[in-house]
Amino acid sequence: MDHTDHTGHAGHVSSPGFYIVIFAALLILTFATVLVARIDLGVMNDVVALGIAVTKAVLVLLFFMHVRYSTRLTALTAVGGFLWLAILIGITLTDYMSRGATMPVPGK
């Protein structure tokens, strides 16, 4: 956590050049996701598309939203939000994806 310096009253200040690098990376990833979607990779299409989307989201979170330079409590709150979303989607899917897949009850 060497970036959380309190010497400057504004906290960490990223340079415009750094923001432009992040912006360029986000644009390149957008092009990549459009290009990859044109190739039929089966299930891997979803994996790649979500992988790129998560990468882009993490870049925005860390650098545009300054989570990289925020307090641990703020970072934990952000992570917590996405964790709860994963629980919502994950547990809902355990129901929908297992319907019709019940085991026969022994002795019946």
Binding site: A10, S15, L50, A53
Partner: protein, 227 residues
């Protein structure tokens, strides 16, 4: 690092219940994040509905997705990422005490946000023209979307309009907040010591950007390799 020697314990923007501006800012940022967590769950319900129906009708979703305009969607993704850049730069301008640049970058952010909504309006209008709006007049010409598939495709387009509509509503609210920030920014209310309203608005704006980062591949790119 900071050349200013103003006592942050007696800054005019410091509310009495806080010890320092840093503590005040951390408190505001944490509060904004708590709100964003509720926003994650707000959009999360729709994302969950999408995942459930997408798992149930994967082929119809891919065929229906083919009717969304990848070029316009991709353009909007770039526009929104650009608006996140200008939003981040307006906060940077405050951090380095450049009052006019704050206003210029806020206006740039609003301009890009408006372009996004304009493109969205064009897309919505195309959907009405092609009878792809769920309801009594839903009548896609695509042979892949007839019979039972037509009902299932309505679920896709319902999710499309709900998810992008809720996202667009957030953009409109964001534009209102940005507009409200221009006057105080111009009057010099925000500087390196105090710019929490800009910071919290930035968090909101970037969050809306993240929602679109997921909406774009999930809605537009499913059918890209089909047909």
């Amino acid at each position: 690092m900071a050349s200013t020697t103003i006592d942050t314990h007696h800054h005019p923007r410091l509310q009495h219940q806080f010890d320092s501006l840093e503590q005040q800012k951390e408190s505001s940022t944490l509060g904004m994040w708590m709100f964003l967590v509720t926003e994650i769950m707000f959009f999360g319900g729709l994302f969950t509905a999408y995942v459930v129906y997408r798992t149930k009708y994967p082929h119809v979703f891919a065929a229906a997705s083919h009717h969304l305009d990848v070029t316009l969607g991709g353009l909007n993704t770039a526009v929104l990422i650009g608006s996140s850049l200008t939003m981040a730069l307006s906060i940077w301008a405050a951090q380095v005490n450049k009052r006019k640049l704050i206003v210029i970058f806020l206006i740039a952010t609003m301009a890009l946000g408006t372009v996004f909504l304009g493109v969205k309006a064009k897309e919505y209008s195309d959907k009405f023209t092609h009878h792809l709006v769920p309801g009594a007049h839903f009548a896609p010409e695509d042979p892949h979307l007839q019979g039972v598939a037509q009902d299932q495709a309505q679920i896709f387009f319902s999710l499309y309009f709900m998810m992008t509509g809720l996202h667009a509503l957030h953009m409109i609210i964001g534009l209102g907040i940005l507009a409200a920030l221009i006057r105080p920014s111009w009057k010099g209310r925000f500087d390196a010591l105090y710019h929490t309203p800009l910071e919290c608005t930035g968090l909101y704006w970037h969050f809306v950007d993240i929602v679109w980062i997921f909406l774009f591949p999930l809605l537009y790119l499913l059918g890209a390799h089909a047909h």
